[in-house]
Each structure stands twice: as C-alpha cells, then as structure tokens.
C-alpha cells in the first residue's frame, strides 16, 4: 500500500525528512496547535510540499506519533532486558513518562480519544503493548506488583500521570502516590 513504485527522488527524500524533523519538533513543543505554515517555514519549504508528502495535517501528525511509538517500543525492549523485574517495570514506567513529558504530541495522542486516522499506528502500538504486558506480568509474578495488576492498569497509571504534566510538574508525585498508596500505611 505504501509501496513506492520507484525510489523517491533525492530531493524529495531530503525534503520529506526535513518536514518530519520540523513537524516533530514543533508538535512535540506545542502539540496539535501548530499550523502547517509554521512547519513549512521551519523546514524551509513551501506548504505545498508538505501536502505532496502527507495527505493532510492528520496524516503528518500520525507519522510523527508513529515514530514516537517506535522509540517507545525500543525503550520497552531495553527495559525488558533487566533481570530484576521491578527494575524493568520502573525503567519502563519512568522512561515512558519522561518521553511523554518531552512531547506534547505524544500526550495528545495518548490522552485524547481514539482517532480513526491513528490506524496506521496500530501495528507499533500492538508491539509496544505486548512487551509492556510481559514486563508487567514479570513484576506481578515476582510479587512486586499487586496480584491483580494488569496491562490495562498500566495505561490508567500513565494517563493519570500525563494529566498532571501541564504546568508545574507534579506528575512524579502522582506516580509516587500511585506506587505507595494514598491511605495511611498502618491502615
């Protein structure tokens, strides 16, 4: 479907990369709010060129999000290397959240409702989910996470933390509360 009949012309490939870079940086910074003209200018190109490579703004955003998801999968794979299950879990959790903090577009994609145009990303998402599931399971089996903790809960936790990323960065506190519980220890 995305099979290119012929390899892209040299300048076209270069420009495509420039667009991706510019968009990546701007989206990360201000999320959905950046406008196409800005991206074009930052990339040193005309708007028309953006539209030659991406059908519309959504498609461009989707491409960026896809990239981030690949990075996330790499990170998850790395975390899974750790022998200590808890270390693996923490590495994944904090790595994920730090990336989210650094990238407004990523948060946008993760916090908003499911967009139909995100479909291209389904594959990357699935990969990531699989690894996450394994890491979570390992931590549970090792008795470091509550018995009934599931991969879905990982999503809940991260969404919760991401919601506390605007303004003062209270998200670490939020994660701490989540880890240790709100209630008094001695019950």
């Amino acid at each position: 479907m995305t099979a290119p009949k012929r390899p892209l012309r040299a300048d076209a490939r270069r420009n495509r990369e420039a667009v991706l870079d510019a968009a990546g940086e701007l989206f990360a910074q201000r999320g959905d709010a950046v406008q196409m003209d800005e991206i074009a200018e930052r990339a040193g190109l005309g708007v028309g060129t953006l539209y030659r490579h991406f059908a519309d703004k959504q498609a461009l955003l989707a491409a960026i999000i896809g990239r981030r998801f690949e990075a996330m999968t790499t990170l998850a794979r790395a975390a899974d290397e750790a022998e200590d299950p808890w270390a693996a879990f923490e590495t994944l959790l904090y790595g994920y959240l730090e990336s989210a903090q650094a990238d407004a577009a990523f948060r946008f994609a993760l916090l908003g409702p499911e967009e139909p145009s995100w479909n291209d990303i389904a594959a990357e998402k699935t990969d990531f989910s699989a690894i996450t599931e394994r890491i979570v399971q390992r931590a549970v089996d090792a008795g470091r996470l509550r018995e009934d903790f599931r991969a879905d809960d990982f999503v809940l936790v991260t969404r919760g933390a991401m919601a506390n990323m605007t303004g003062a960065g209270g998200w670490r506190r939020h994660v701490t509360l989540l880890l240790e519980g709100i209630r008094s220890p001695e019950r």
Copy 2:
C-alpha cells in the same frame, strides 16, 4: 462590577436563564466543542441574544463553570458534615469525580491549563479549596490518609482520575489503585 444598574427586564432574565440552561446541558455533554448557534437554537433564541448576555463564548463557558464550582462547594460543605473523617473524604472525592464524569465542560476547565478568563471564578475556587483543605487535614489527623498528604495532592488525584474518563470508565479502578497503592501489599 457585575452590579446591574436596574434589575433585568423580565424577558431578558428569562432568556438569560434559557441560555444558561441550554449552554449548561450542551457543554456538559460535549464540552468546548459545541457552537454558539447550537446553543441559541436549543435555547429557542437568536445568536445575537447570547452575545447580549455574554461577551463571548469564553465568558459563557466561564459562567457555566462557575455554576458547577458553586455546586461543588455545596457538595464539599455537605461532605464536611460527616463526623467520620474518612467518610467525609470519600464523599468529597467520589462526589467530585462523579460530577466531573457527568460534565465534560467541568473536566475541560479542570484538565486544561489555567485560562486567564477563568478569573471570575477565582472566588468560588478559593471557597472550594478551603473546605477541601479542611477535609483532607481531618483525614490526615485521623490517621486515615498518609502523613504527607496535602490539598495539592487532592488535585493530582482528581486530575489523574479525570484523565481516565474518556471511553470506558476506568476511573474508579484508577482511584482504587491510588487508594491502595500499586505495589504488592507485603512489600
């Protein structure tokens, strides 16, 4: 500042109320996304009339949010009546979150960054915060909430839960995790 020189004319007051009702319902349902024309139609009025009563969309939204905050303050006051500090806390927490679930506009105001136009609401917000602070402190003093729990943490917790309100309602699970902690009980 909002002091009306003369009491509003009868039809004006009636219409103002109709606008508030229509806007309240639609905003609660679809948040910021509703358009002025819709509100006017639902209220059985022309758009012009909306603008006679509210400077712009922001102002109308702010008025609605203000209402919700008053309701929230009432709820908090009621919760504070309970003798049991933990009961008071739970009543406040779940009451707050259930209201948030029922009202997209409320979530919008609470999840988004601070808007300058929200300033009119500062007063209601302060009232609510004061009561919340008292309830939290009571629960801490009674040894039911962790020593270092502060009113700010209440905000973190609620933001986290609200972020999990889109789609399947996983927010209750999120709150449970928060209350009990993610980690295995026996450490």
